[in-house]
Subunit: 342 residues, 2 copies
């Protein structure tokens, strides 16, 4: 029998579903992805609409999981589905619930794992956590963290997520929600964060944060020569900044310097807490290579206690951008089996 796990990633726009084997190979991936229910479909936060959207969404997910298994079964009948791993915003690993997710139309605390379990009563392992935690587990099971017991995963995207591995396992904390480094404060009274706070790391060092830095610098220098000055706010992304930096654009280069400087500060504080062997960076901005790694490393080292200096590696995640979410979610199942010694 070839063991596989279902990996599901509930993103803000779309939900990805795939089937992954124990080596991290994706055997099947649903294309196109299915649309995630949108906040705008329940603008008043009605409980009734929440329940309807949720019930339809779970039914659709179950249908797609079944058809994925059927497709694979035709190709290779000797397949055994070991469980379902789900990455979702504000997902609680301990309770299997999605709680007050700010970007989903669902109201309150949703017993998501149980709802999926009801559709697949025979399925043994249905596990839920947030996408950054799932990515960290993916790095631990399949990636550069395989040989490590203590590391931190930082995902740079619309937001800044993190997952913390201590003694070979993910840190979920007392309530199941640990690992929210994106909301540590690096500038008191600084930029507004999506969560309502100010000065959070996420507001500076996510892909969105980099975009904000571009326009802060254009405003500061009144720089009309930068090629970034011709791109509207809503079209800016880290790839464009990287391309401009490659051509020597001053603003673009300073964006990376500042981003690395802020990120390094925050990572130093993470090291002061946890003293990890490595910190993995994942996401679009990572493609910029040394533009982001060099200032980050320098800033982190500068802010570290001497005892921690030149010990902690900052590495690009070895998970692939397109498939990390599914692979990471599936890894929740493999980790569970590993814990049980299977």
């Amino acid at each position: 029998m070839r063991q596989v796990a279902i990996g599901i990633d509930i993103g803000g726009t779309n939900t990805a579903i795939g089937v992954v084997d124990r080596e991290g190979n994706i055997l099947y991936e649903k294309q196109p992805q299915i649309p995630t229910p949108q906040k705008k479909d329940n603008p008043q936060g009605s409980e009734k609409i929440s329940e309807e959207l949720l019930s339809d969404f779970v039914a659709l997910l179950a249908e797609e999981i079944r058809s994925a298994i059927e497709v694979l079964d035709k190709i290779n009948p000797a397949i055994e589905v070991m469980g379902i791993g789900i990455g979702a915003p504000n997902a609680n690993y301990y309770t299997g619930t999605i709680e007050y997710a700010p970007n989903l139309p669902f109201v309150g605390v949703i017993p998501f794992a149980k709802m999926i379990q009801d559709k697949f009563p025979e399925m043994k392992h249905i596990k839920l956590t947030n996408d950054a935690n799932a990515a960290a587990i993916g790095e631990l099971i399949f990636g550069g963290g395989k040989s490590m017991k203590n590391f931190v995963m930082i995902t740079l995207g619309t937001g800044l997520g993190s997952g913390i591995i201590v003694n070979g396992d993910l840190v979920y904390g007392a309530d199941g929600f640990a690992g929210e480094c994106g909301h540590t404060t690096i500038e008191y009274g600084g930029r507004t964060c999506g969560c309502g706070g100010t000065g959070h790391l996420e507001a500076y060092c996510s892909a969105t944060g980099m975009k904000r830095t571009v326009y802060e610098l254009l405003a500061k220098y009144n720089n009309s020569e930068s090629e970034l000055a011709d791109i509207p706010f809503n079209q800016m992304n880290s790839k464009l900044v990287f391309e401009a930096a490659e051509k020597g654009d001053k603003i673009a280069k300073e964006v990376f310097e500042l981003t690395g400087n802020w990120l390094g500060r925050a990572l130093a504080d993470t090291v002061h807490h946890l003293s990890p062997e490595a910190i993995f960076l994942f996401g679009g901005p990572v493609a910029a290579g040394e533009y982001i790694f060099k200032p980050t490393k320098e800033s982190m080292e500068k802010n570290l206690l001497p005892i921690f200096r030149n010990k902690v590696k900052i590495l690009p995640s070895s998970l692939k951008l397109g498939s990390a979410a599914i692979v990471g979610a599936s890894a929740l199942v493999w980790k569970e089996l590993e814990k049980q010694g299977r």
Copy 2:
């Protein structure tokens, strides 16, 4: 047989030695404490002097341990010594070494656990960590953390130490030195820290940090009416600030407000990393009760992501001020036995 463990705390001035039973009772304590070798005895950092001081110190410790065991043996011959736990600055749990301790006269990396082992070849468990980690283990084994799997211990003294418990065990990190929250940054470019950095939590919220805040405020307001204005810098301590606050002294009250505000900020970031069930505060300033707990709690809550609010308790440590160091160090042995299921 009554099982006991030796607890040793190597402080900056004195070294405490005691014998503790499995319930945390101190059966014997060496009085007066023995003097810790001083930096001033090896001002040039000579390796030869370091070796001499170290060898004398270890010999003295061994002698005192032996006489402690003898004393107890006379009272109760049915005593079994299970191990020696040592709290020391820059102590590495994994390797049993003391590494580059800035306040000790010893040079480089000292194989301290091995040196003690050589004096007691039969002794099974000789474990070393820093004093704040030892306090955290003490809180876990004997104190308010008994029923908890995830908490953080903060010790407020000359410096600010911390020990982190995740999944029921101390976080030592990749190198054995994790848990240095005192050196996370709360004010970039702020006060000079003892470690050479700037703006670190320890420079603001330790007992020493509070002292600095007193004079910063006296300078700011040119306040000659405060009773604290008549006390020299070198005589100030958190007890005097507390007593002044009790009498309504404005400066003293603002010191607590600011200290709590800074500490709460830092603790929020710790919660964003680890989501502990509780944070225990230990040390002199804790005697001030609500003067320190109230602003700390308020500031932490204000700086937390909504998902973590009203979940994390801030509690006074239940370890006693005078004996926590010995009890905590001994707990290293009990934790080790617990891991082995004994």
